[in-house]
Amino acid sequence: MAILWFSLLARDLLQVVFSGTAIVPDFTVLALVWVAVFRCEDAALLFIPAFLAGLFWDLRWTALPGVTSSAYVLVVATSAWVWSHLSPGRRGNPTLFFVWAIAAHGLSTFLPALLSGHGSGLSSPLVSQQGMALACVLGLTALFIRHGRIHHD
């Protein structure tokens, strides 16, 4: 669970550094996907940390408490549900992990924009954030493959 709080702090600090320049990718949702995938059989205890992490982000940056937390809770629920229904052989599929991590990041970016009724369009900072997120997800997928190999060996 430490990975979740570390990613939240890292995102907050990077957002301070790039404030007014760029929107930092949502490392927290990627950490939540990672944790939920590996703990899909017992994901119930992930909901409260996901809710608290989203609430913190809302209080610090979006000014709409509950919006990011609902996105995080949905991501945890969907990740755990999907992975727990996969056969053990398909759980280590890197393509599936990559696609789902990208989709989860998109959900956590665009759901708050849609719920707040502001900026639902594709603005240039949002597009560049998705581009940076793609690079992060590729790195995370590489870690996922490595983790799978070590586990397999």
């Binding site: 702090l9 907050d12 600090l13 990077l14 301070v16 550094v17 790039f18 404030s19 007014g20 059989e41 017992d42 994901a43 119930a44 205890l45 909901f47 409260i48 996901a50 809710f51 989203g54 609430l55 913190f56 209080l59 610090r60 940056w61 979006t62 000014a63 709409l64 408490p65 509950g66 919006v67 937390s69 609902s70 809770v73 949905l74 945890v76 629920a77 755990a80 719920l115 707040s116 009724g117 502001h118 900026g119």
Partner: protein, 254 residues
Amino acid sequence: MGRTGTRYWIFFLGTLSLSLLLAAVSPGSLLVDKAMDLTGLAMRVPEWPARSLRSAVARTVDLAAGERALRERIDRLEKENLSLRGLLQTTINFGSGPSVQEGHVTLRPPAAWWSEVRIDRGLRDGIRPGMGATQGGALVGKVSKVESNSAWIELLTSSSLYIPVVVEETRDLGVLNGEGDGNVWLLYVPAEKNLRIGMNVSTALVSEQLPPGIPIGKVSGTGSEIGGYRLYKLTLNADLSRLYKVKVISGGKP
């Protein structure tokens, strides 16, 4: 498996409903404003290295571009300009003379996008309610609430802000008011005045905290006539879509 599954759904639905409930009731809540201020205050310490890094990078970039000297010169000229405006108003006592405090925008609530922003300057920096805030020398709004380390600025586009203004070319007085959706109107100008598109609008004498003559915008369109008065649409000089820093005109008497 059954118990684990039940627990999963209880936690999922519980946290999701709590999130959605918060999202529904939080906009405009004073309690949430306080919670946001507290979160910002609590994060000042852990975020200190990141803020220092940002400032250091900005200083380096400024130096490399030779922009720092220019900014200081602009600040000095703005200060001098404000003092001269104060001197021109013989009925006003500006005390020690207006000064300028630069603040970064730390929060712009999406639910009140065209109404207010929060900056990282407050009572400790001499900010008081009623003071004007500018961007690039153009007025963006007035300070509405002040905490010890932060202040809220009500934007010109807010529907609850009324600012007395003057049309510089004709010296006609009117009142500026926003619609809350990004549009700004000039009210109470007699219909027979026929203002032209492109005429400049600046602050009229309002209070000792908001000096007259601060540029606001230009007349960009003509609206309907109501009760012998014509509405005029204004285009602001300030770019509220890129509002990252503001300068608060402080130092006057309340």
